[in-house]
Amino acid sequence: MTRPIRVLVAKPGLDGHDRGAKVVAAALRDAGMEVIYTGLHQTPEMIASAAVQEDADVVGLSILSGAHMTLFPRVLQLLREQGRDDVLITGGGIIPKEDMAALEQQGIGKLFGPGTPTTALIDYIKEWFAARQAQGA
């Protein structure tokens, strides 16, 4: 039997737009995942430490402030420093395509823009998780 996927939905930075994060958190929960939501205004340190404490498989970052190029790599780096480079970091918000590509290069997972159906990220997370389980990670 497969265990449920544990997802930490987090709002890094100072922007207060949590509509997307909450809609996504509810959709992932309805898709059978275990979801923890951090609340607003989180630093990368707060997010990484919550991910470790909660033993998350996935960290979903939502940001609409434009600070993604600073904050996303920081979360990735902190998780790596704590030996948790097996965690998938995905997310979404107002993020230009070229920034998405650059972040992916650095090791961040797929990022989703406005208008994405929640099924797209549910499928993405499930496929990633199945592949990781298959590798025996």
Binding site: V9, G13, L14, D15, G16, H17, D18, R19, A21, K22, V23, A25, A26, A27, R29, V35, Y37, T38, G39, L40, H41, T43, S65, G66, A67, H68, M69, T70, L71, I94, P96, K97, G113, P114, G115, P117, T118, T119
Partner: protein, 564 residues
């Protein structure tokens, strides 16, 4: 003089006509029910929409049959002259990077015919952090302009005479501080405070509810707002000390009826706090203004604005005993709904914005911001902003729409919808009262949950194709390369800001700063009005975060109820 006997034949004829109409409507209903009809993709938040409206739908309500514009209860507009007297203010919200860059954008907008300025601050400023605070990293100048002290505010309005423009500032948590920076900047330009015109958003209740840029717990935050009411009424009489905002509540997911009711309930709360302070309602209520989100459902939005004016006037008069007409009229700014813009096929946004702008004007807005087509992708480019401004100018000068006041007044549908939204708002006021009022409802997360539920429902409707979004879940095309250029904000603003702040801290009168901050802490602990103390901090070049931190020492910090 007409006698009752002479009227009788007319009344009898009218009764006959109504009976005939009733029969005709019944017959039409049968024909309609037997015809093939499409499924409605779009769901109104008010009662269900009928396919056709007649005078019968208004039975028991006079609609606005006996109202003229500029008269209580102001459903048809707050001015007797409507847009014949004065067009709405075309006010484009703008700000990015440093004060210097934004100053150049303001000068561009003024040259192109914008008639009021509107400052967008970056997130650190919105939260009360200086540009060089660790929490500001990566955020400086990204979503607005970075303002950390009076020096930045002076730069922002360099060459723009503050006695001649009206300025709106979208700032809430630390509004009192930014307002004092503005007042101090005006003093330095030699402009008397009595000549200043503008608005600070300063609507903290909707921050806890929806937008989430807060600094302090609810009670002290409300005290700061009432301090501003009091100081403003005496010293800055042309300034709107709060812009009670539905915009963010709607953007966060609320329906039109929720936006209407929650926002008005916030407004009533401010009025109650002002009265509780001992202020005369007619002294501060004339400076309360409103801010609405103009969404896609065209007629519902128009009806919302008409209902809002009527509800406000009635409650101000009947509940709060306001007598001055200036307290009863709801003046408001509108902005087209950012949340309706799509990243897919972004050119379509120009069309959405134009329809929404038309609704705002048909609803009688006093000022309007039209969004730019590229705003789901980045901050707007100058070219995109220009199209948005031109959209308003075409509406104002080519369509003839502003020539007639409340031109939809008397439309059976719009009158009915106005009545329904008013009734739904009254029902929601009762629910809010049952929660213990606005503050109690925020503390328990009741409002936040209602809004999140509406947002989740809308997402579900979109994914189930019950709500159509052209270019997203209908008429989608293969993704093409982006056909519009995007504005890039580099890290230069952050570096420049950090250097400028370091310089400022070395060159200012440190003793004066310390004394001003000490005095502020003392005032905050007691009950005196803190505006004069913060103004002295501003004049002394204390920074935004220094002032915020001094207040936080006394007030503590806000903790949100976390849920999803």
């Amino acid at each position: 003089m007409t006698t009752p006997t002479e009227l009788d034949p007319t009344l009898a004829a009218m009764r006959d006509e109504l009976d005939r109409l009733r029969a005709e409507v019944d017959a039409w209903r049968t024909r309609f029910a037997s015809g093939a009809v499409r499924d409605l993709a779009y769901a109104n938040s008010a009662a269900e929409v009928a396919p056709f409206y007649t005078a019968l739908d208004l039975e028991g309500s006079a609609g606005t049959a006996f109202e003229v514009p500029g008269q209580y209860p102001y459903t048809r507009g707050i001015h007797p002259t409507g847009y014949r007297g004065k067009l709405w203010t075309m006010r484009q919200f703008a700000g990015f990077g440093s004060a210097k860059e934004t100053n150049a954008r303001y000068k561009f907008l003024l040259k192109e015919g914008t008639t009021g300025l509107s400052v967008a601050f970056d997130f650190p400023t919105l939260m009360g952090y200086d540009s060089d605070h660790p929490r500001s990293e990566g955020e400086v100048g990204k979503c607005g302009v970075a303002i950390s002290s009076l020096a930045d505010m002076e730069q922002l309005f360099e060459g723009i005479p503050l006695g001649e423009v009206s300025t709106s500032m979208t700032i809430n948590g630390p509004a009192i501080i930014l307002w004092c920076f503005y007042l101090a900047a005006a003093e330095k330009q030699g402009v008397p405070l009595t000549a200043l015109r503008g608005t600070v958003q300063n609507d903290i209740l909707k921050e806890y509810m929806a937008q989430h840029a807060w600094c302090f717990p609810i009670e002290p935050a409300l005290r700061l707002i009432v301090d501003m009411f009091e100081f403003g009424a005496q010293e800055v009489p042309q300034w709107n000390t709060v812009s009670i905002s539905g915009y963010h509540i709607r953007e966060a997911g609320a329906t039109a009826a929720q936006e209407l009711a929650f926002t008005l309930a916030d407004g009533f709360t401010y009025v109650e706090r002002g009265i509780a302070r001992g202020l005369d309602v007619d002294d501060f209520a004339p400076r309360l203004s409103f801010f609405w989100d103009i969404h896609n459902d065209f007629f519902e939005e128009i009806a919302k604005l008409r209902a809002a004016r009527r509800i406000w006037a009635r409650h101000m008069k009947e509940r709060y005993g306001a007598t001055s007409a200036r307290s009863l009229v709801m003046r408001f700014h509108s902005q087209t709904a950012g949340v309706t813009l799509t990243a897919q096929q972004p050119m379509n946004n120009v069309v959405r914005v134009a329809y929404q702008a038309l609704a705002a004007v048909l609803g009688g807005t006093q000022s309007l911001h039209t969004n730019s087509m590229d705003e789901t992708l980045a901050l707007p480019t100058e070219q995109a902003v220009e199209v948005a401004l031109r959209t308003q100018q075409v509406l104002a000068y080519e369509t003839g729409v502003p020539n007639v006041i409340d031109p939809l007044g008397g439309s059976y549908y719009v009158e009915k919808l106005t009545d329904e939204l008013e009734a739904e708002a009254e029902r929601l006021f009762e629910e809010i009262a049952a929660q213990g009022g606005v503050v109690a409802g925020l503390e328990t997360g009741w409002f936040q949950k209602k809004i999140a539920e509406s947002a989740a429902r809308q997402q579900w409707e979109i994914e189930q194709h019950r709500r159509w979004i052209v270019g997203v879940n209908a008429f989608a095309t293969e993704e093409r390369a982006l056909e519009i250029p995007l504005l890039k904000i580099d890290e230069q603003a952050a570096k420049d800001q950090a250097a400028a702040l370091a310089r400022l801290r070395q060159t200012r009168d440190a003793a004066r700063c310390t004394a001003a901050l000490d005095r502020l802490r003392e005032a905050a602990r007691g009950t005196e009005n803190v505006v004069p103390c913060i103004l002295e901090c501003a004049r002394s070049y204390c920074t935004l975060y220094e002032i915020r931190a001094a207040l936080e020492e006394v007030f503590g910090a806000y903790r949100e109820p976390v849920f999803f």
